[in-house]
């Protein structure tokens, strides 16, 4: 083990890896700070470059970028009331209210430190839980893999924002896309329309670039003209002490947020966004701070408390989303789904084999997680100081750049135009889906998990001559079925938690109105 850690340290300490970490950190901070630019979009744009890197720097690029982008999403939340990434949306109102009251840098500082602590907690969880699950996964047969993938698909639909039925339709579309190419049983072509290049299936990376990159540009170019937004003035000097005081005061919330983020993020298909919303709802609904009439300090303290809980959860969720990815090869969220694509290109198959045969790569991944989270602290404070400047990057130039990188990335996959065409197709699809309020994450998970579900299902039924009882009678399968049922049962619970948070906030507001009357 010591030898593995040593070789992992050597891999991480290579100049290329260090350079990649620094560049992707800056890339993540810039993209995350721009309103509407998600960490998934940043990951999709990074992928073409990772093709040409060794596995460890390629993994380092995606991990570092995502850790940075998720925090950076808080910057436009605080300054413009526009969440930079979906996981910042939970506490956008609180962050902006703090800025309005002259405490923007403290809110951002608390969010930063909570993110770092949450990220480190998630990394520790990843380091200790994933090997245990990986070892457990060695006992899995096609039945268990089928159920794990079904659990992932169920979670993807359940956590769909807005409507689970639309999430279900999106998932079916993703599964349908995954069937393009030669099938696993007889090698029969499906949806290839006589095009031999489609026999290998739809390239996942081209689909990602289209769904998240090109669709964003399409949305921007067809947007209606709105008002230009002024950036609130923010004095960021001397924020360290009040930030640390805030974190210390709400250390319990950082802890509970980290645990929620760690657990929710580890659920296949959930990820950091959902973790932040749940942690926010829990923190708000169980808050003991009761601001009285005109008690601005208490109101702001309550906001800082909410930010502590939710920020720690989203970064903890990023790390723990790698638990199912590493242990079972099932993506925890869209970013890990992209990472699986990158790993497969590099000849690394996520799953139990990683713990047996590629331990140096595995340990490198753990080390990179810790480095990325520690690096977030200084770079995050720098970003808070430079936030106004980053937000002034013209969107028109950015859109041109995204199109250019998307085309180059899609072309570089196979040095051909088929992937460029697929990217355009998925770009239009992503645009239309977002217009119709259909979530994109289930499409991604459907594309990734589709072949796993189909292969394991067909393998199982063929080897048992269609004895379907085998799916239900094996002990591990039974546990996984219970988890699927629990995941479905968690739907009303999540709704209840959210409604409790709203009711608590409405009650507090009504109390203030009554007192003032």
């Amino acid at each position: 083990m010591i030898q593995d850690i040593e070789s992992a340290l050597l891999l991480v300490a290579e100049p290329t890896t260090i350079l990649v970490v620094v560049l992707s950190a800056v890339f993540g901070l810039v993209i995350g700070s721009l309103p509407g630019m998600t960490a998934t979009l940043a990951a999709a744009l990074l992928v073409p470059f990772t093709f040409f890197l060794d596995p460890v720097p390629a993994i380092a690029a995606i991990i570092t970028m995502s850790a940075m982008a998720i925090f950076a999403g808080d910057i436009p939340s605080a300054l413009l009331r526009i969440p930079g990434t979906p996981s910042s949306a939970a506490y956008t109102e609180d962050a902006f209210a703090l800025t309005r009251n002259g405490k923007g840098p403290i809110g951002l500082g608390v969010s930063l430190v909570a993110s770092v602590l949450g990220g480190l907690f998630g990394s520790v969880l990843l380091i200790f839980v994933s090997p245990v699950l990986g070892e457990f996964a060695l006992r899995f047969t096609s039945y268990e893999y089928f159920w794990v993938a079904v659990l992932g698909l169920t979670a993807a639909v359940i956590v769909s924002k807005g409507s689970q039925l639309k999430g279900g339709i999106a998932l079916m579309v993703g599964l349908l896309v995954s069937t393009v190419g030669l099938d696993v049983t007889l090698g029969h072509p499906r949806f290839t329309f006589g095009e031999e290049q489609l026999y290998r299936g739809v390239d996942f990376i081209a689909a990602m670039i289209g769904l998240f990159g090109l669709s964003e540009v399409l949305r921007a170019v067809t947007a209606r003209r709105g008002e230009s937004m002024p950036i609130p003035k923010m004095e960021s000097g001397g924020t360290l002490r009040p930030t640390l005081r805030g974190i210390w005061r709400h250390k319990g919330r950082v802890g509970s947020g980290s645990v929620i983020g760690g657990v929710v993020g580890a659920l296949p298909g959930a990820g950091a966004d959902i973790a932040a919303w749940i942690a926010y709802a829990v923190t708000r609904s169980t808050s003991r701070i009761r601001p009285g009439k005109g008690d601005k300090e208490a109101a702001d303290d309550q906001r800082i408390e909410a930010i502590s809980g939710a920020s720690s959860a989203n970064n903890a969720g990023i790390a723990s989303a790698y638990v199912p990815t590493l242990a079972f090869g099932i993506p925890g969220d869209t970013i890990t789904a992209i990472l699986i694509g990158v790993l497969l290109v590099k000849g690394i198959t996520p799953g139990p084999d990683l713990f047996l045969y590629q331990t140096d790569t595995l340990y490198s991944l753990y080390i990179i997680f810790i480095i990325a989270n520690l690096l977030l602290l200084p770079l995050g404070f720098l970003l808070i100081r430079a936030s106004g400047m980053v937000l002034r990057i013209p969107r028109s130039i950015l859109m041109g750049l995204i199109v250019a990188i998307s085309i180059c990335g899609a072309f570089a996959i196979n040095n051909g135009y088929l992937e460029v065409g697929l990217m355009v197709l998925f770009g239009v699809m992503g645009y239309l889906f977002e217009k119709g309020g259909i979530p994109l994450a289930p499409v991604v998970l459907g594309i990734v998990l589709g072949p796993i579900v189909e292969r394991n299902f067909m393998q199982s039924v063929i080897k048992t001559n269609w004895d379907l009882t085998q799916f239900f009678t094996r002990p591990i399968s039974a546990v996984l079925i219970v988890l699927v049922v629990l995941a479905i049962a968690s739907v009303p619970l999540m709704g209840l938690l959210g409604r409790r948070a709203e009711r608590a906030a409405a009650k507090a507001s009504a109390g203030e109105v009554r007192t003032s009357a």
Partner: protein, 212 residues
């Protein structure tokens, strides 16, 4: 907010939108099932490549039928709630969402907050790339037509020229100045050319500049 979003925000708009999405899902399912059924069987009575497709098709039809139904029920319940208890915060759920959706946890402003109009600001951000009227769709056409033109022209003109023209067109369509658009086009094109051709060793289309 786009027109689609505005219309979708009202219960009737949401119902119309979900009816369309549900209809398309049912149609897709109705196409996929016979397509799957037409595929070869592993042996008699045992489906092979078409089984998964038929399952997906069936679920598409199921979800497609349920979506407008639940939206209609949600809208009716909301209407009933409004009549029964006007202004009750608990009943303010969007018709677009089904009853289990995670609600937004928007926080009301606290007493004593500095109002927006007294907020001290430092500048105007150049994030507004939106347009009015037909211009939006012209911008969309420039983007999609530009990519198509790139695919057709890149093998002839080469990557640097075609990409520079494409980026120039997109940036200019978003109301940037000619100079900014031209500079962005040229620098992006040359930067990506250098990075992909020289550093990553990806062969991009040479076109006219082959041999230079």
């Amino acid at each position: 907010m786009t027109a689609a979003e505005t219309s979708a925000a009202s219960p009737r708009g949401a119902l119309r939108q979900n009816l369309l999405i549900g209809g398309l899902a049912v149609l897709a399912g109705a196409i996929v099932i016979p397509y799957g059924a037409s595929m070869p069987y592993i042996r008699e009575g045992i489906p092979g490549p078409g089984l998964f497709l038929m399952m997906i098709g069936g679920l598409l039809i199921l979800f497609g039928l349920l979506l407008p139904m639940t939206t209609w029920i949600g809208a009716r319940r909301e209407r009933g709630g409004r009549v029964g208890a006007d202004g009750d915060a608990d009943l303010a759920t969007g018709a677009d969402q089904d009853s289990f959706a995670l609600p937004g946890a928007a926080v009301p402003e606290a007493e004593g907050d500095v109002p927006d109009e007294r907020l001290e600001t430092v500048g105007v951000m150049d994030t507004d790339v939106g347009s009015d009227g037909a211009r939006r769709w012209i911008n969309g056409a420039i983007l999609m037509g530009g990519i198509l033109a790139y695919v057709l022209l890149a093998p002839v003109l080469g990557f640097p020229i075609t990409m520079a023209l494409l980026v120039l067109a997109i940036v200019r369509s978003l109301r940037a100045s000619w100079l900014a658009a031209a500079l962005t086009g040229v620098l992006t094109s040359l930067g990506l050319w250098g990075l992909f051709e020289q550093v990553l060793l990806v062969q991009l289309p040479d076109g006219l500049i082959r041999g230079f």
